[in-house]
């Protein structure tokens, strides 16, 4: 800990909204203050700056005229800014779609594209400037860092204890890229990465104080169900006992699932568009975006149990003829409930699986949105994959809701109803309530965790959320035209503790010197039994997911045997949650670090 550290700061870099919260670390033994949210000054219109509690994670790339007019300048930043982030940028896709970047975070986790090359806005015309997903993330974080430093000139962020959250489903490469963007934005070198669902639980712990021990007991299993704007994330946390103390341990995390609240708003807007079309009103793109906004607001009223049978949804006239140009349509409550509840939270069995994308020879590159939007089926598959022996699926005794979607009471109720059907007499999970504002829980929880790391407060034991494997081509008879069979060598076991390392036993591997050595790299959220050195011969697509390959550039060494250096692997998980893989030479006292090569090469297999 740095001597100038006064605050623990949590930053939630979200898919649609980013938030920063903080708490004073204070003196040893002092009680932790509940973390507070720091408003972030941002452009809400050209030349207009307003602090808001959240920074929408949107980027608008300015034209030359806008840049020279300096309308996107913000206090504290360099003059002549050629982009805007936040509230103003969020509204720009309706007006200038080809210059608007959204969902940069989802792109960070997508290994089929090079996330350091300028590819966003995706599919924008050639004469529009582009940025990389890493750079877009850096700009969001830079605005947040500036907000902190402006509010705390005597306690700059680089001196504070900073925790940045990532989805539990982010693999090592996505975490690495997030870290790269964060360091470039001005976060301190020793900032810590924390999984979002854990942060949500920390927020609950922060608000409960010591009361939490009365709500959970040894043997309980807690499901954190986090449905944000763009992503769905599941995490299971177990309650155990160590030295007479209750402890929390993260048991499992789900896969990266690209479905969230935005999909629901879009589905409702699509439904309303059809209703307009039936009245002979065809909406233009601008009106469609306005409709999306109206639908988001109407959603609550339409979902409410016992609410009005019909609810009007309007799109205001675009020009200054506001009233005259307004078109409206009545949406029927039943149709909307069917659409959202049965579309996104359908009643299903624990044995159900999400419908898979139909196999086709050609798939357009772009974010891999889920082909099945049913969150309940994704949850069923997650619980089944993490079943304990003799059970059909892991049974959570408690559930913690997180993410803006669950502000809606009908959606919470539906999910609980479906889950209680899965476990017969044992019943569904009990709700852990108390996270006051679901939009800010992750950032507040991250700040609490930062303070807890200094020795106060309870900590969730986690370790690696996935096991990692290096792909090794088998030696053997090559069949012309067919790739050599591939085996996966486990280098990081599931649950490997932060701050530990593992030497991977097994045969030595010959590395070619003088040219880059590249390894295919895989991860698994379900193979919890594999130890370092274990070799997996065959696997299903659900078991092992290929991620970015790793490479090392080995300089020519004098003790190379016939151009090869015999090496073994050593893996490491740092205290900061950073994964490292090293090649240790078996011939000399040398080692090389493998780096992710995020060039979208997973597509070329």
């Amino acid at each position: 800990m740095k001597s100038k550290t006064q605050f623990a700061v949590g930053i939630d870099l979200g898919t649609t909204n980013s938030v920063i919260a903080y708490t004073a670390i204070g003196a040893e033994g002092a009680a932790l203050e509940p973390p507070e949210v720091l408003p972030i000054p941002q452009l809400v219109a050209p030349s207009t700056v307003e602090p808001r509690d959240a920074l929408p994670s949107f980027l608008y790339l300015a034209t030359d005229a806008e840049r020279s007019a300096a309308v996107f300048d913000v206090p504290g930043a360099k003059k002549g800014r050629d982009y805007a982030v936040g509230q103003f940028a969020q509204k720009q896709p309706a007006d200038v779609p080809t210059r608007s970047v959204a969902g940069a975070k989802s792109w960070l986790a997508y290994s089929r594209v090079d996330r350091r090359s300028p590819i966003l806005p995706w599919n924008a015309p050639a004469d529009v400037p582009k940025v990389s997903p890493v750079e877009a993330s850096r700009r969001y974080l830079e605005q947040i860092v500036a907000a902190w430093n402006a509010a705390n000139p005597k306690a700059p962020l680089k001196d504070q204890h900073v925790v940045l959250t990532v989805p539990a489903s982010f693999d090592a490469a996505a975490r690495d890229l997030t870290r790269e963007a964060a360091l470039a934005a001005g976060l301190p070198e020793d900032f810590v990465l924390l999984e979002e669902p854990q942060a949500a639980l920390y927020a609950w712990l922060a608000d409960q104080g010591d009361q939490w021990r009365k709500q959970l007991k040894v043997g309980d299993t807690l499901l954190v169900c986090d449905v944000g704007g763009g992503t769905t994330d599941f995490t299971l946390i177990g309650v155990a006992e160590e030295d007479g103390q209750l402890t929390l341990r993260r048991i499992a995390v789900g896969n990266h699932t690209l479905v969230g609240g935005d999909n629901m708003d879009l589905a409702l807007a699509h439904h309303a568009t059809t209703a307009f079309a039936a009245k002979g009103v065809n909406l233009n793109p601008w009106q469609s975006v306005a409709l999306w906004h109206s639908c988001r607001n109407a959603k609550e009223a339409l979902l409410a149990e016992g609410g009005a049978k019909k609810h009007p949804v309007s799109v205001l006239g675009r020009g200054s003829k506001l009233v005259g140009g307004t078109v409206s349509v009545d949406l029927e409550q039943k149709a909307v409930r069917d659409l959202l509840l049965d579309g996104f939270f359908p009643v299903c069995a624990l044995t159900d699986k999400p419908a898979r994308r139909s196999a086709s020879g050609f798939r357009e590159i772009g974010l891999p949105y889920e082909s099945d939007a049913a969150i309940t089926r994704h949850l069923a598959a997650f619980l089944t994959a993490n079943a304990t022996e003799g059970s059909g699926g892991a049974r959570p005794t408690h559930i913690l809701f997180n993410g803006g979607v669950f502000k809606s009471e009908p959606l919470r109720t539906r999910l609980l109803d479906v889950m209680s059907g899965w476990f017969d007499k044992q019943g569904g999970p009990a709700v852990l309530s108390g996270n006051a504002d679901l939009d800010f829980a992750v950032a507040r929880g991250a700040a609490y965790y930062g303070a807890a790391k200094t020795g106060r407060g309870v900590r969730i034991r986690g370790g690696a959320a996935r096991a990692y494997y290096v792909g090794i081509e088998t030696a053997g008879l090559a069949i012309p035209g067919a790739p050599r069979p591939l085996r996966a060598l486990c280098v990081v076991p599931f649950g490997m503790e932060e701050g530990s390392q593992a030497d991977v036993p097994g045969d030595e591997i010959g590395l070619v010197v003088g040219e880059p050595a590249t390894f295919r790299f895989f991860s698994s959220a379900t193979r919890k039994q594999d130890r370092p050195g274990d070799v997996v011969d065959r696997w299903t697509d659900e078991e092992l997911t290929e991620t970015d390959s790793m490479e090392a550039n080995l300089p020519t060494a004098e003790n190379a045997q016939d151009g090869y250096v015999p090496v073994r692997f050593q893996s490491k998980l740092t205290e900061l949650g950073v994964f490292e893989l090293w090649c240790i030479s078996q011939a000399a006292d040398q080692r090389w670090k493998l780096e992710f090569s995020v060039r979208g090469d997973a597509e070329t297999d």
Partner: protein
């Protein structure tokens, strides 16, 4: 007599304030004396020659900033400036619902309005002996004796914060409440 006092005030103001002098000259049709700091600066000069002054004082009044917030977020100016005489009530209602929702959200965010008195309207309330006239307006039969109780007719409104956006543009843009939109 009143005009005499006004003339005297003008005389002193013109002598002491160059800006007033310029306006007075314009008023009686005379050329204003040459001056280094224009009173109503032309936008071009203000942005380029006096950046320090522009940074010190906001280029736009808070009233216009608020108006542009309400227009941007709730289309309030569009609504108020439109002639609604010819429309059916249902048509107006459909539009107003959205304007109302968004304008209320903006007011809440910027001012966090709450009642001056929280008691339900129509209930009997106790009054302090020293009434704060800014907070509580007494109506009805007011005698010499300060009343100790009354019936609350209107809870009043107060801002619990004032957080207007900060306008960083130049004087040129300061009077724009909403830009014209042209699709290309």
């Amino acid at each position: 007599m009143q005009r005499f006092i006004l003339a005297l005030k003008c005389f002193l103001a013109i002598l002491s304030d160059r800006a007033v002098a310029a306006r007075a000259a314009a008023l009686i049709g005379e050329e204003a004396p040459p001056q280094t700091t224009p009173v109503t600066p032309s936008p071009q000069t203000s942005a380029r020659t006096t950046p320090a002054a522009a940074a010190a004082a906001p280029a736009r009044s808070d009233a216009l900033t608020l108006l542009s917030v309400l227009q941007r977020e709730a289309r309030l100016v569009d609504f108020l400036k439109e002639d609604i005489g010819g429309y059916e009530d249902a048509q107006i209602g459909a539009a107003v619902r959205d304007v109302h929702r968004d304008a209320a959200a903006a007011l809440d965010r910027l001012f966090a309005l709450k009642h001056v008195m929280d008691e339900p309207e129509g209930s009997d309330v106790a009054l302090a002996t020293q009434n704060d006239a800014a907070r509580i307006k007494l109506v009805g039969n007011l005698g010499a004796q300060a009343p100790s109780r009354g019936r609350l007719q209107h809870g009043g409104w107060q801002a619990t914060k004032v957080e207007l956006p900060q306008f960083t543009g130049n004087a040129d843009a300061a009077r724009i409440v909403a830009p014209a939109e042209v699709e290309v």
